[in-house]
């Protein structure tokens, strides 16, 4: 409760993750389990599950954008911004290197779906390193 009062932006983000992100995640998992067999769908029928799956990723991006907008603690926001900048920089570096290797048939193609988890992983690592730096 005290933490919620101290950081309303963080509290709003938690609420949005809990009431928007998590239901979408559960829906994604349910669809993934059920959806093993729906790769046979064609045309418009196939676009709906694809968009529903993608909604979760987009929702997390929007939730995080809103958090950055609402965060009053400049230090916390700066930490996240730095982590995000490292995340996008490293992700683009890896993707561009990999893409170039794929173009010359030296590596297997990486699915576009992995760009987002890769970015999240690098951002989380960067955030941990930055927190250690400012201890």
């Amino acid at each position: 409760m005290t933490d919620c009062i101290k950081n309303p932006a963080g509290d709003h983000m938690e609420d949005r993750i809990l009431f928007i992100g998590m239901p979408l995640l559960v829906a994604n998992i349910a669809m993934a389990i059920w959806g093993i067999g729906y790769r046979h769908l064609h045309a418009a029928g196939a676009y709906l599950p694809a968009i529903l799956f993608a909604l979760m990723g987009v929702a997390f991006i929007v939730i995080f954008g809103l958090y950055l907008k609402e965060e009053q603690d400049e230090f916390q926001r700066d930490l996240w911004v730095q982590a995000l900048l490292w995340g996008i920089g490293a992700t683009l570096t890896i993707i561009t290197f990999w893409g170039s290797l794929v173009e010359f048939e030296l590596a297997k193609g990486l699915k576009l779906l992995f760009v987002f988890p890769l970015f999240m992983l690098i951002t989380c690592i960067a955030r941990l390193v930055l927190r250690l730096r400012y201890r």
């Binding site: 799956f53 290797l101 779906l113």
Partner: protein, 134 residues
């Protein structure tokens, strides 16, 4: 974006962007020619394949350096917001397209396009961010 600026940090960043753009084309053509005529293998093939990406990534390094040395907080904040806009747009596009590829058999988008998509969204974000501060 910063072409008219007299500030050395901005001029250095713009110069890096132009030099990178000038270097990429000959390096890509050179790498393609090397693969076509010399049938490269092993470590040499990997080195030649990633060579055209070096100037591209140099721009990212220069962007990071520019953000670190920029003294005008307002300008830095605008650029950061544009980069974050670019990040969000890129991640949303790749996620949606990735699922469309998987489920709706949409045409395959090569990974090499992620970087131009990112800059496209950064450029699109710029007027939007500027308008907010008018």
């Amino acid at each position: 974006m910063f072409c008219t600026s007299n500030r050395p940090e901005e001029r250095r960043f713009v110069r890096a962007c132009w030099m990178s753009a000038a270097l990429v084309t000959p390096l890509v053509l050179g790498a393609a020619a090397a693969f076509r005529f010399y049938h490269l293998h092993g470590i040499a093939a990997y080195i030649v394949a990633v060579l055209p990406t070096i100037p591209i990534l140099w721009v990212l390094v220069e962007l990071g350096r520019f953000l670190a040395v920029e003294k005008d907080e307002f300008q830095r904040n605008i650029l950061i917001q544009c980069v974050l806009g670019g990040t969000g747009g890129t991640l949303a596009t790749t996620t949606i397209w990735g699922y469309l590829e998987d489920f709706a058999h949409a045409p395959h988008l090569d990974l090499i396009w992620v970087y131009p998509i990112f800059w496209l969204f950064v450029v699109v974000s710029y007027p939007v961010v500027r308008m907010r501060y008018r």
